[in-house]
Symmetry: C2
Subunit: 253 residues, 2 copies
């Protein structure tokens, strides 16, 4: 990757971040609230002595986790990116960490340049609750019908209008996205529902996962998702799942 | 398993418990402190209306976790054990759960009848800290030499005097135990060190794991563990590892 130093001496760094979202009101800075962005910007300020905005590939909602959120920052920093990584981690709380730091072209923009994002939603399946999953997975008592979920998932992928799966969409907002895949992985203690798209609308992954779980519970046939899509109305789809099972897994450029 | 009802109408229940130990001062009840035992006994009292002692297979220290701690309680309870399980879980905090409840013979005793216990100590290996491992694993920046650790582990198994691995042992205390196995498992993101014995002394697993990691870091050759064992002196062995990586995995009867 070629690198640039801007006329003002600033370099652009691409940061890959992991965070446990439980204690935060999401990514985006909000006055008087604990947010990931505010924590990362405070660490950048502590390390570089400058107030610099840190832009992520997208906001994650309150309570949502990340394993591979990507953000960029433009800073006057002359040492190698690895040194920046160490310095930032020394100034971040324990539940937020920079996992990778790379120098990027001056024009790199974490949000605008993102080509696709992948989230997963984690479900713990067992008759009784489990102390080690409670913060990172939805608890289902009965195993869902994974085959039915997969049949429904296949009908949701592709380039579609996902208006029925958006928390709040203005009438003129473009709610068409390309869902590259929606996969249900059977893990040892539950499920992981992976969703990969060129972009996600607010609450979209949680609404898609909630819809698949309704199908998995036998409360709707797989084909019902066609009608939900066609309705283009949030009221047509089941409720969104809670945030604590959701992980932003990776962002591709 | 045959079951008995004692003359006082009490039945004996074997409970298998999981807990996230982070918020607790260990298993054992202590006045004015949050302990697992106190929480479980409070749940038993809420459910049965009686104050009954809940005896575990052994104490776990402050901050130590459990996936399969076993305890027994004698209570006047006429419904099936599954109903007791549900009722207890409804009265336990989120970080403690009964995973299994079974009726046991009247004489069953979780500590005295335990034949062997297995713990594992979890280590996350990576150049930078990880927000999702911080509460459940020790962080090592460099991968240890697993082969050397395994060579050392082989010299520690068997019936031996583990005095060098005990936090506080009186001169007359019996510190001989049989270590059935001490295994180093290479997992995707780190290691798990499993230790199975007929009983463990205070801090013994954490001292054994700490010793293996010293060998793995090249600070001592595997054969050094023979001298440590022979010394019969806590000062001869490396420091115990912190509690948050330790899990009581299972107890066999």
């Amino acid at each position: 990757m070629s690198t640039d130093v801007a006329a003002d001496g600033r370099r652009t760094f691409k940061l890959t971040l992991a965070y446990d979202g439980a204690a935060y009101q999401g990514w985006q800075r909000q006055p008087g609230r604990a947010t990931i962005q505010e924590r990362v910007e405070a660490a950048v300020c502590a390390v570089t002595g400058e107030q610099a905005a840190v832009h992520a590939s997208g906001r994650t909602d309150a309570g949502v986790h990340a394993l591979g959120q990507v953000a960029h920052v433009r800073a006057r920093w002359r040492l190698p990116p690895e040194t920046l990584l160490r310095a930032l981690n020394a100034n971040l709380p324990e539940d937020v960490a920079v996992r990778r730091a790379e120098e990027a072209p001056a024009a790199f923009h974490a949000r605008r340049d993102a080509r696709r994002k992948t989230y997963f939603y984690q479900v713990y399946v067992g008759p009784d609750r489990h102390p080690f999953w409670r913060r990172f997975a939805l608890h289902l008592r009965r195993p869902p019908d994974v085959r039915a979920m997969r049949a429904a998932a296949a009908m949701l992928t592709g380039r579609r209008d996902f208006r029925s799966f958006v928390a709040h969409a203005g009438a003129r907002e473009d709610t068409v996205r390309t869902l590259y895949f929606l996969r249900v992985l059977d893990a040892r203690c539950g499920l992981r529902i992976f969703a990969c798209a060129d972009g996600f609308l607010q609450h979209m992954v949680r609404a898609l996962a909630g819809t698949l779980l309704q199908v998995g519970a036998g409360r709707a046939p797989p084909a019902a998702v066609r009608e939900i899509l066609a309705a283009r109305d949030r009221g047509a789809a089941p409720a969104s799942l809670p945030p604590h099972g959701l992980f932003l897994w990776r962002v591709d450029y």
